[in-house]
Symmetry: D2
């Protein structure tokens, strides 16, 4: 059943990109906590633009209040009348892209945080990631009398918690999380606690911060920066932190495992000003550009980024190659994601609404275009046409990630495998298809080196989750295999 | 937890009236069923003005679609784009006033019909009435791992259904309804069936109608009229009708009991053009006026209704007494329930925004004002002032119901007992308080006679539920007594 | 040129009625004057439902502020944030139906009051009525370099004022009004004055009221009642009142003429609780019913009004005839004018959305239906069908006005003459067309008697404007004749 | 008088920048012309973000239709239902920032294009620029009986046209424009013509383009690019082009004068992908960076732009100096101009909502920050703080324009002179005030060289209007001097 389907927020102009599905943020022990959550979610807007929700606990009325809205954080959660609905000193929030089940039709009831009232008190939960055994769990729970209200994976977790016979909420959460498989970085909140937990492989990020007596949890450090909080450390893979006004208690409720952090967070998902694993994301991207320049040099007049995500790698490529960096493609900063239901004529303009070639610069020149990734290839093709129309002599694409050949089941919205350009073509075929003078992707080893693994990828046990490039899935995608939606082949 | 509290729809100008909490309507076997439901709910708008919801089953996509909106039916459910979201040939709908828990703060998630997906398929439920053991059931269910999403009584029913081990939905519904106590007239819908059921005492109405091959269920006959359907019969107290394209099957799943239909439906809740128990509601009200004129005659120049609900009884009073009927008070037909958050100066105008005295008519005259009921007495007092300000010589109130002294727990929004004028004062004290020349209520026997019980009220076993007048509660209000919110005294 | 055309507010369910085009209200010398204007316009909502505007003069900032909004007064002008935009102790307002030029497409720029800044200061103008030489004036003014911003007649007046060489605003207004022909009741406001003026024939009403030190001007007395003001007197035909904090100055700037007040204000336009010419409108309508019963008696079981406008005449008819008054047709009080762009199925329901027959009462009975007027006859026909469908034995229509045969050019929205049922048919033909057992209209003389002219209509010089019934136009409709839109025939 | 004041679109987070007030775009001879105008205005959004308007001429109905809306082009003018309101093959449009009179309170009636109906037909006008004798003209026109509807300069032009006795619209426009002083680039449209005209000094840009049989006029070439039109040439200073389906006719109605194009268009207003005077704006900005590096070298680890407007100059500075270019400050791409009425806590975040420092990069480093201009200096100060907080060792500001010391009266929104940092301080004082290690502005000569005047600024007759830097006003600001708002001093 669908509730009032909403306008397709993703729209026909949506980037030809993989999409992180969520950002999470929480604070405990701050005056007007909801204000901090609004700021944190604003800083994490790139992780989910369709909707946002905040739950705050009001100790005066002993109740949890929730506001969930479609649209940008800045358009909803900055107004005093909204913040006034969320009094209290602890609050958590969630940015959302969309779900597998309801692509582009986010219903308010699917917007997190989820909130549940257990016998021992209320609990709000915000989840970044995706479960790989959600279908099986859901079937089992419905048979046992559970009523599902949403299409979200996360609801399995709360029903498992409701069925648990443990006496307190953190214990019920451990019970529940031991039953689930997949990727999860979760922030939960009870009347007195804020809980952060990452799956045993630590696929999605989760950061711990502090400002005076306030504790913060956030998907990325850039969200700590915006509130002026100090970055304390990353929550570890498999760790549960239970934060109260008395401080942080750390537990490790799961079996020990090797870390498999998502390498695409470095490539595209995270903001360049965030730090992961001790390295600035910007620096990792710049270094990918350096690796690319080493692996795939070319003679040219300019190195131009496809704005904005290609910029750091383009800077690195330019520095390594000595070819001048230039802004050959200009982005219209008034292009939102909101050309909803445009007229046909405008729809057909596609990428032109967002990008324009700096014609005077490009004309007659050999240009290296640096982009972060190629997914379906549709945008790359249009950009190439624009650049050639403007009179470029040669167009060379350099891609700051390996070919994207596999779907992600750990909290990223990927097109079906058959839609992935690299699933269907070799690098040379792609160059032909895009009709460019050359097309080169950085190697997996180059990517690993740029991300701080100087020795390159450890084939025996890769240091990151790189399933989208390698097909090497660290967590078996059970639901997908059960339903026949995925057939695993040996990793290339 | 509250979700985005909404503007107080009831507003400061709300009538000083008891409020029916719900109207329900359903159709099976009609092209564009949602259109019929929109019309039916529009005709039942007086039974709930805060919000409305419609669920339709789309056999093409094999899915249930739902639209739930705050505000009037006419403002939401008449638009082609809304109807287009609700394709299919069966649909049910619900009008809502508000709940005990969230007075004036209807959240979308509390708007019915509820929808649940069971292992054997989906089911939508619309409920008119109130359960008296909902608190106890809720506590039991939460302990067993059920997660409640709303503050609505009705959710107990669906959780009980989810826990049932019966194989089909009607059987699960019987299981569930045998556990609940209170008043319920329910319309439910599965992929192939529409189900109507009334509690054993039949407190709330439920009507069966037919138009060609389409079957209808509705709270009142006026909703059958608007779609042009023929009134077939009332669903009986304790009866469950299971309607498929092959016709209507009748079952009686509950213990046999005596009928206790709500007499206030005659007094105020139902529309005057509806038929109940073979009698037009208009005629019952006119006859109350006749009884009043017999029981409480007075010499006067005009009999004037307090518009609009006092009109039929005023006509009856005028006919019986021979005093001319006149419109001494004029209603502003542009006064909605929507003076939301008005400025102080406008708030203070109170009743004047809605009513004005026909000054030229009233000046120097003795006036009988006929109103349907007195609840808190606030409005009566203001009306009296307006009429005296306009120069009336005498003002005599005649009330077309007995004194309202007890709260209702069967689906009606009553103020706390202590706020009821008649709980605190005798008839004479009320006349003093209102500063009117005389004030008389119809007797319980007079009311029963007007409603077709020529012998008056059977004291041994009253033919209606009249608990709001007599304190004689046919279903024990268990939750209220458990919580100490109600202490029963012997009926006066 | 049209500015953003708006949804057709009149809708397909609009009453088959003539429509008064405007209501005006003003106050000088009251704290928060805009609040009073909001109340006054709410009481005058029946005179124009599409849009409303208020202009207030803020002496602190020495500026005029204006808010103009589509929709009901109660939905816009009751909010504190709107009132806060209109500070000051004098304010005027205007309710609008629509104009000849833009039927159903009210643009904000056509919503009054108009505001102009002259060299000697600002002036706001609200106009009820219609000019009959507006086209000619507009052409002349454009040739002289005036730029028109709206399609409103009223703009001619302000351009004439702008061209005047008089030194103060009242004098410029006299200059301008001496050039115009037609019907006008105008309220204007300068920094220190409120001005009220009626055309020499006094076609439209204008009332003067007082409350403590505040002065009021209003279209009807019901608007004085809502603010608690005392009715002082009517502004006379041809009179200009200039109100300052020092009191009211009366002038008579036009040639003397006989009064020709619009008789349709008694029949339908004005509210029944208003007083005109010393008589309550309700009483005039009741007396029309008495006249009708004398002129067109019939044997029947019930006299039923077509609600709500037929009610007073039905009461009179019942009283005179001795036939019982009954509510045979019930109005849905939740039917607004807002079924905008409904689905086809709902559109086809037409009158049923608004009215339902009290089936139990009507079945097998002979019914007299009393309505205020017949315009196109479309609604009358549908009502008759509903009543017959419900099983009435006989249906007799009695109409509380003479046949409407001519268009009005003095501020009323009339259909083209060819659409008027009575223009095309005799009374008998109309009865046949409507398929009723009988159809009778009150006579012109009967109408005049009911409205206080005991001698009936003075054929030599009618005491009212009754052009819509008689074709006897007291002001020559110059524009219409120039354009060939109207051809006058001798009055019947 | 103000009409419904609107939320302050500029908001408290508005950039500390000068603001171009308008962008204009027109097309003649294109199917669905309004679609092209929507695209063109979207490309020109940076020239005015508060509101946009489009007027199209519909030859079928022989009427001009207009839609004017507050907010972004993409949110209003891309919807099929809006485009459907604007049929026809010629259309013009206008983006607006705000006016001197109503800063931040754009009323719909102030949104252009203006539309006027003259005796010889309708005319729509869109104006980029500002008149310097508008106050004097307005006073004269009001005395003559003209009624002004807006606070816009442009309305003077249309009243002058209305008063002209010329027989056709282009001639009336020449009459009018010969009376006005100031800067104007105007696009006008009649039923059959599109007219483009620039003031004799050509202060604001106006470009002519062509695509098949369609002709275009636009403020910048980037708007021709988005519709795929070929750039034909600039309309010359003092030239009027009259375009019909038969082609372009050129006239020179004004006295001959020297060109004084606004140099700030190169510095900040125009988009970097636009071409002006044969040079790419991006290239001009990059060359300013080169000049800056020559004029004000410094030893540092990184050259970082203040994004996004400082980027081209930072690239130039890095190239000339050999210091690595790096993104030391990251822009939140979800920061719109729409943090309307935020809570205090969020308001206080100021620039952090938009910018974050790339902490890992900056820590311990010497940084050159390149920005386009310093206006009030408030933003520069906050950026400096952020960079120091992040641990930078040294912060050197390099500004890609000379000190902004004078107000602009030719269509740019400048703060009062007293608010301009450079009006009050020397370069050294500013460095102290901003507490940076060094602060340097490019010289006027350096700016001129970068903009293609290899010989630098011609002191005898500057090749550009640079009044904001030099106080050398090429058009006397008459109104400002008359009112004492401006006192000219000798240019420094």
């Amino acid at each position: 059943m669908s509730d009032s389907p909403l306008a397709d927020y993703a729209g026909p102009f949506d980037d030809d990109k993989l999409r992180e599905e969520c950002g999470v943020f929480g604070v405990l022990g701050a005056h007007d906590a909801a204000n901090f959550v609004a700021l944190g979610l604003h800083a994490l807007q790139h992780r989910g633009q369709e909707a946002a929700g905040v739950v705050a606990y009001d100790p005066v009325e002993s109740r949890f209040n929730s506001v969930r809205r479609l649209g940008y954080v800045r358009d909803n959660f900055t107004k005093p009348e909204v913040i006034a609905m969320l009094p209290g000193s602890s609050a958590i929030g969630h940015n959302r892209y969309s779900t597998a089940g309801n692509k582009g039709h986010t219903a308010i009831r699917d917007v997190q945080p989820l909130y549940v009232e257990f016998a021992m008190g209320g609990c709000a939960i915000a989840h970044n990631g995706n479960l790989t055994n959600a279908d099986a769990l859901r079937e089992e729970l419905i048979t046992g009398g559970s009523i599902f209200q949403s299409s979200s994976d996360t609801e399995c977790i709360v029903h498992l918690m409701a069925k648990s016979i443990q006496k307190d909420i953190p214990e019920r959460m451990k019970d529940a999380l031991r039953r689930v498989e997949g990727a999860f970085s979760i922030i939960a909140m009870t009347r007195t606690k804020m809980i952060g937990v990452r799956d045993p492989l630590g696929v999605r990020p989760l950061m711990l911060g502090k400002l005076n007596d306030s504790w913060f949890l956030a998907s990325e450090t850039c969200a700590l920066d915006i509130v002026g909080a100090e970055f304390v450390r990353e929550v570890e893979p498999g760790e549960m932190v239970i934060i109260t006004k008395d401080g942080v208690k750390s537990e490790h409720p799961f079996r020990k495992d090797v870390s498999k952090f998502c390498v695409f967070e470095y490539v595209y998902f995270s903001r360049p000003d965030s730090m992961i694993g001790g390295m600035s994301v910007y620096e990792a991207r710049r270094r990918i550009g350096v690796e690319l320049a080493k692996e795939a040099p070319i003679e040219a007049d300019y190195v131009c980024p496809v704005p904005d995500s290609g910029t750091p790698a383009a800077i690195g490529y330019a520095q390594q190659s000595g070819i001048p960096f230039a802004m050959g493609i200009i982005r219209n900063s008034y292009m939102g994601r909101t050309f909803i239901e445009p007229s046909d004529q405008i729809r057909n303009m596609g990428v032109r609404l967002k990008l324009n070639v700096n014609r005077a610069l490009i004309e007659g020149k050999r240009v290296v275009l640096v982009d972060d990734s190629v997914v379906r290839g549709t945008t790359s093709r249009k950009i190439k046409e624009m650049v050639l129309d403007a009179g470029a002599k040669e167009v060379h694409f350099r891609i700051a990630s390996p070919p994207t050949m596999w779907s992600c089941f750990y909290g990223v919205d990927t097109p079906e495998r058959s839609k992935l350009l690299a699933h269907n073509m070799t690098e040379d075929e792609m160059a032909d298809y895009l009709q460019v003078d050359s097309l080169k992707f950085v190697s997996l080893d180059g990517l690993y080196r740029a991300c701080g693994k100087d020795e390159g990828r450890n084939k025996a046990c890769a240091q990151f989750c790189d399933a989208c490039f390698s097909g090497d899935y660290p967590i078996p995608p059970s639901d997908q295999m059960a339903s026949g939606r995925l057939k695993l082949e040996p990793a290339e």
